[in-house]
């Protein structure tokens, strides 16, 4: 037992203690960062006696679990961590971001659907992705999308159909005149790149192949650059750099209106010629419009729902919050809870033709 000699032992124990400390430090950095901030901020909110913020509201002093269905680090996680301290101040509550990754967000939504509707559990969910899943009849959903309490939309980025510059396509007319259509890069059935391409084909009545199996939009971008594919659909923001670099050509916006920065790019609605197809195109736009959605469990009492909606409205109209979002380069496109709820109803009540379009390979 020579290592139990006094000096040696102290050293070894020291190293192990250092290890433990390191561990504690890391754990603290990761999971409890937001509550730590909140603990500092929420007493302030109470002390200020913030009149709009409802420092004495139903949720004041409570701990609200703010669920995201992804691991720390991604876009949804960053949005949630950006919103949490502002919401905490408005409600006079503790808001703790809780990462519940799994099955593309389904784990977190299934949990949310089953949670108590007392206002202490809310979530930032992929609203449009979930809408696409509902229409595509994906497996594993233990919830009715239309029953969630809609709190508001954080951001809804319009989408654009782009062609690879190397393909030679320059406009929607070129695409409509092509008897074979594009080969679209997609991740797989149920993924937004896949449903977007299926709904675009159906709303325009054009042919086109779906090449699935890409890991994400980055890999699809490379395949476009190599001219192995002709087209893909994604958020306008994510494609602007490629468009400006001349690698991709915008063909059409999947949106109700043209984009301010690209006034010459038509919307898909401008090419829809009959009523059945218009319904498909409008449903498609409604799905995209769901964006990043704040949801709560179904059956929430009216007073709690109203308080949450009001607090969120206050956050998303405060200049301090908008400045923070701008500095983090995170676009905001706020819609009220009522507006979000309406759009969810449009999607879940979509006509049969939309469901059929999503069954076609």
């Amino acid at each position: 037992m020579r290592y139990l000699k006094k000096g040696r032992l102290n050293k070894t124990v020291g190293v192990m203690a250092a290890f433990g400390l390191m561990l504690a430090a890391c754990g603290g950095d990761g999971d409890t960062a937001t509550p730590a901030e909140d603990a500092e901020e929420s007493p302030d909110a109470g002390a200020d006696g913030d009149a709009d913020g409802g420092g004495e509201g139903l949720l004041a002093g409570q701990t609200i679990t703010f669920v995201v269905g992804v691991s720390p680090g991604g876009g949804y996680d960053s949005y949630a961590r950006m919103i949490a301290p502002f919401l905490a101040e408005e409600l006079g509550a503790n808001v703790v971001v809780d990462n519940q990754p799994g099955a593309g967000g389904l784990v977190s939504l299934n949990n949310l659907y089953a949670a108590e509707p007392d206002g202490t559990t809310i979530a930032l969910a992929n609203g449009s992705g979930t809408g696409g899943n509902v229409l595509a009849g994906a497996e594993g959903m233990e919830f009715e999308y239309g029953e969630f309490s809609a709190l508001g939309r954080v951001a809804g980025e319009p989408k654009v159909l782009v062609a690879s510059a190397a393909s030679g396509y320059e406009s929607m007319e070129d695409l409509l005149a092509d008897p074979e259509g594009f080969r679209y890069g997609t991740t797989g059935p149920g993924g937004s790149t896949h449903t977007d391409a299926q709904l675009l084909r159906a709303s325009l009545g054009i042919p086109g192949d779906l090449v699935s199996g890409f890991d994400g939009s980055e890999e699809i971008g490379l395949a476009l650059a190599a001219n192995e594919l002709q087209g893909t659909i994604g958020t306008l923001d994510s494609h602007v750099p490629d468009i400006e670099a001349g690698d991709q050509v915008p063909i059409a916006m999947i949106a109700a209106e043209r984009a301010e920065d690209f006034p010459d790019v038509p919307t898909v609605l401008e090419f829809v010629d009959d009523e059945d197809r218009r319904v498909i195109a409008e449903t498609h736009i409604a799905v995209i419009d769901l964006g990043r959605a704040l949801l709560a469990p179904p059956g929430m009492p009216d007073d709690i729902l109203a308080e949450l909606r009001q607090a969120i409205e206050n956050v998303f109209t405060s200049e301090e919050f908008l400045a923070e979002a701008a500095s983090q380069n995170r676009p905001i496109g706020y819609l009220t809870g009522e507006e979000l709820a309406e759009r969810i109803q449009v999607v879940v009540n979509a006509p049969e033709s939309v469901f059929e379009a999503l069954q076609q390979q």
């Binding site: 190293v15 390191m22 890391c26 680090g73 090449v211 890991d215």
Partner: protein, 507 residues
């Protein structure tokens, strides 16, 4: 001179922020279960408040060394600090048990730094031709590369080939659990949402190595290091450093493999080490000892891990496309600073591009020195008896497994694979080959599917793919052909030449 302008950007203040990033990253990745992705996510909010150059330096400092520190615990205790440190355990841990832990760690750390420097050099040299390089390596080429690595993995360990096949096959089979994205088909998920994302890598690795080794240690008693009087650490460090240069072919070969894997957006952060390891395992003269404590194995695992960061920057600079998931967060940070990663950087921000390359160089060297400095202290723990060492390591393992996704299933996976690994070890099946199959199998499949869907069977005719596949055929049947030729050249042998060759092939 752009390279000097880039160096000039690294002012003392910027350098300090980079250093902070490097140190923080090192502490995080040494902790089991926490990886580079976590480190970046944590540091990002802070870095974004800095001015752009300092912020970028800090984030890159975190990113480029996230594959270095995990070597220490991977080798000394058999606990990889993160998923990208797994292959270091294959040969490092057996060396640690022989009392050569410090030598193995030193070799691994120096190899990491050298790999990082090779990555930086190749990135610098390829600046003028970034785009053609990225476009030359498409799914068919990655399919061929991974296929080569998987065939090579059969040579790891040089044990019973049948047991090797079974281990690799088990790894492959378990890798297919989950939702196959390109068709949205469930495979072996039994209605459990937990299984949709596949079995999680970090808990499996911690189970197979940390839990298994602790079980074995309890069974055996004593300490990890079996050596009564281990060689002094200064001597071991010197030896480990020399090993990296003595086996320069292994270092270079694995660094190149790492660069290649780093370039692909979909291959994942943990694949590089296995591709590098499998290649070196096949071509090394010392191949029988791989998996049993071959120093080349440690070198191969670590060189690839760090050179991949240079590789991951190639598509980032060429197209603004991240080569790895951690690089995706780095790109998001660039955007927040108003710098658009992509080809414009080469014309508008060439000084920043060079600063990035310098950061690759300095961060790798600094991390190596820091890690070498703490190694002897940590290495002493390997001489601690089991009853003192096992409890803290079990706690760390549970923490590491659970922190990867905060799901209870991860703890079940951890202990399930701990028992499974213990049985594999007892009956002489290779855990290394199992893991290589588990990690590379799905990548092989997805690149095959993409190749077929994009190009059809004609993908086999693409020059680099064809070349690699022919090389593979040569390596597999080459020895048999060689024996045949040798047999034909000896007409004086009484038996017929062909019969001779056949009998040798059979043997």
């Amino acid at each position: 001179m752009a390279p000097l302008e880039g160096l000039a950007l690294l002012s003392p203040t910027v350098f300090v922020y980079m250093l902070l990033g490097v140190l923080f990253s090192t502490v995080v990745v040494i902790t089991p279960g926490l990886g580079g992705l976590f480190a970046i996510a944590v540091i990002l909010p802070f870095a974004l408040t800095l001015d752009p150059v300092a912020g970028i330096a800090m984030i890159l400092g975190v990113n480029v060394v996230s594959g270095t520190g995990n070597t220490i615990t991977a080798i000394l205790f058999g606990i990889p600090g993160s998923a990208s440190g797994v292959a270091s355990t294959f040969d490092g841990f057996p060396m640690s048990r022989r009392g050569e832990g410090v030598r193995a760690v030193s070799a691994g750390l120096v190899a990491s730094a050298v790999g990082g420097l090779i990555g930086a050099a190749v990135l610098a040299l390829s600046l003028p031709v970034l785009r053609p390089i990225v476009l030359a390596f498409r799914p068919p080429e990655f399919f061929a590369l991974i296929l080569v690595a998987m065939v090579f993995m059969a040579f790891v360990g040089g044990g019973d080939p049948l047991k090797g096949l079974i281990s690799g096959g088990l790894g492959l089979m378990l890798a297919f659990v989950g939702l196959e994205n390109s068709t949205a088909q469930q495979r072996y998920t039994f209605g459990e949402l937990y299984l949709w994302d596949g079995l999680p890598l970090v808990p499996i690795v911690l189970g197979l190595y940390a839990i298994t080794e602790m079980l074995a240690l309890i069974e055996r008693g004593g300490a990890i290091s079996g050596a009564k009087h281990p060689v002094g650490w200064a001597h071991q460090m010197l030896r480990g450093t020399k090993d990296v240069f003595r086996h320069w072919q292994a270092t270079l070969q694995s660094s190149i493999a790492g660069l290649w894997v780093g370039m692909a957006p979909g291959l994942g952060d943990s694949a590089a080490q296995f591709v590098g390891y499998a290649q070196v395992a096949k071509t090394s003269k010392n191949r029988e000892n791989f998996g049993k404590g071959a120093i080349e194995g440690v070198i191969a695992a670590d060189a690839a891990t760090n050179s991949k960061e240079g590789g991951a920057l190639i598509p980032t600079l060429a197209f603004g496309i991240p080569g790895s998931s951690s690089m995706a967060i780095v790109i998001a940070a660039f955007l927040a600073f108003g710098i658009q990663p992509g080809p414009e950087m080469l014309t508008q921000n060439i000084d920043i591009v060079w600063m990035i390359i310098w950061i690759l160089v300095f961060a790798n060297l600094i991390t190596m020195v820091v890690c070498l400095a703490v190694t002897p202290g940590i290495a002493k723990l390997t001489q601690l008896r089991a009853s003192l060492l096992v409890p803290p390591i079990l706690v760390l393992s549970v923490f590491g497994a659970y922190s990867s996704s905060s799901r209870l299933g991860d703890i079940l996976t951890l202990f399930g694979f701990g028992l499974f690994g213990w049985q594999l070890k007892r009956f002489g099946y290779s855990r290394a080959i199992f893991l290589i199959g588990f990690v590379l199998g799905p990548i092989l499949e997805s690149n095959y599917l993409l190749s077929m869907r994009i190009f059809g069977p004609a993908f086999l005719r693409r020059p680099i793919t064809l070349g690699l596949l022919l090389l593979l055929v040569l390596i597999v049947v080459g020895p048999a052909i060689k024996r045949l030729i040798v047999g034909l050249r000896r007409p004086t042998v009484p038996e017929s030449a062909s019969g001779d060759a056949d009998s040798r092939t059979d043997a």
